[in-house]
Assembly symmetry: C2
Homo-oligomer: 185 residues x 2
DNA sequence: CCTACCGATCGGTAGG
DNA sequence: CCTACCGATCGGTAGG
């Protein structure tokens, strides 16, 4: 699965052959079928593990009992940290899941929808509690949070100046406070 | 190129065969080679056209002479509108460009970098002009804007409640003002 | 885990 | 001479 995550993230699912995987593991391609059912099953396992990682983190962040802003911050920091720690598997989760056939894809779609629901719930909680602006479009704000978190795999490098947590925290501050100068209405 | 944009966006570059392309056009796959040099050349053309579209729009938005906030708004609205109007080609531009071989990929990378530079320039102009908060991390804010714009192809549907322009405008307002309630510091 | 295959299909090119 | 194709096949590789 590690080799698959790496190769699928670099070459894409369809750009990776069983030959590539065999080579990475020092096996003939036919021999891989003693360990996996099919190439697609391998994709599903990598994608599903990624989905579970994000979902588990989100549920934990959402249920802390803290104010909505703190929960959203924990979720965004957790999201970026998870993506950074499992960059290849996260890339596969985000980019290659759509190549699954209908039944497994629907399973993953359900987990993606659940994740988005968790994010929106935190935001609508924050609006209800008076923490966030009552004019906030909850669906749009949820998508902004997911966008910010999901796009980082395209530019994050482990040896960058900022840690994953710091990136998550910076993104949260931007989303919470905006670009505009405080003060004059 | 339209057929390639559609097929590459749905199946991915490596998941699309010359057979698929021929079928979409009512031709034998071999006949396509009277029109293109190679499959990769076709990918490059789709990706490059996408890059040029976004870059042209960004240059136009950036050079209006308006305040930074208005320019950033125009860029985000333009970005979402462009992505919406050419959803398939934009998807290929964003997802499949990395499968180009080194030389053409570097050409596209340069255009992507240029686009990001335009975005950052607007933001740093806004900070310098006192429109934006002086504490803003320009690189991070630029990535947030790009993230918001680049992720929409995953959920945008032409028959949704909001037009592309309206989505761009809502995203801009969120990024400018943030989630937080105005008032108490 | 191997070699040796299967039915099919890959991107690309042949001559006409 | 051109554009726009044909049926067949090139050397290799796909998943199984």
């Amino acid at each position: 699965m590690d080799a698959a995550a790496r190769l699928f993230s670099e070459r894409g699912y369809h750009g990776t052959s069983m030959q590539h995987l065999g080579q990475a593991l020092g096996l003939q391609r036919g021999s891989l079928y003693a360990h996996i059912g099919s190439k697609e099953e391998l994709l599903f396992d990598v994608v599903n593990q990624g989905a579970e990682r994000f979902l588990g983190m989100a549920r934990h962040a959402a249920s802390s009992g803290e104010p909505a802003a703190a929960r959203l911050r924990a979720l965004l920091v957790g999201h970026v940290s998870t993506a950074a720690q499992h960059l290849e598997a996260s890339t596969v989760f985000l980019n290659e899941w759509r190549y699954l056939s209908p039944v497994p894809r629907a399973q993953i779609q359900a987990k993606r929808d659940l994740y988005e629901t968790v994010v929106r719930r935190i935001i609508s909680d924050g609006v209800a509690a008076g923490e966030f602006d009552p004019g906030v479009n909850v669906a749009m704000a949820g998508r902004l949070v997911l966008s910010a978190g999901n796009w980082i795999y395209t530019w994050y490098h482990p040896d960058g100046a900022l840690s994953a947590s710091a990136i998550g925290a910076e993104l949260f501050d931007l989303i919470l406070n905006g670009l505009a100068k405080e003060g004059p209405a």
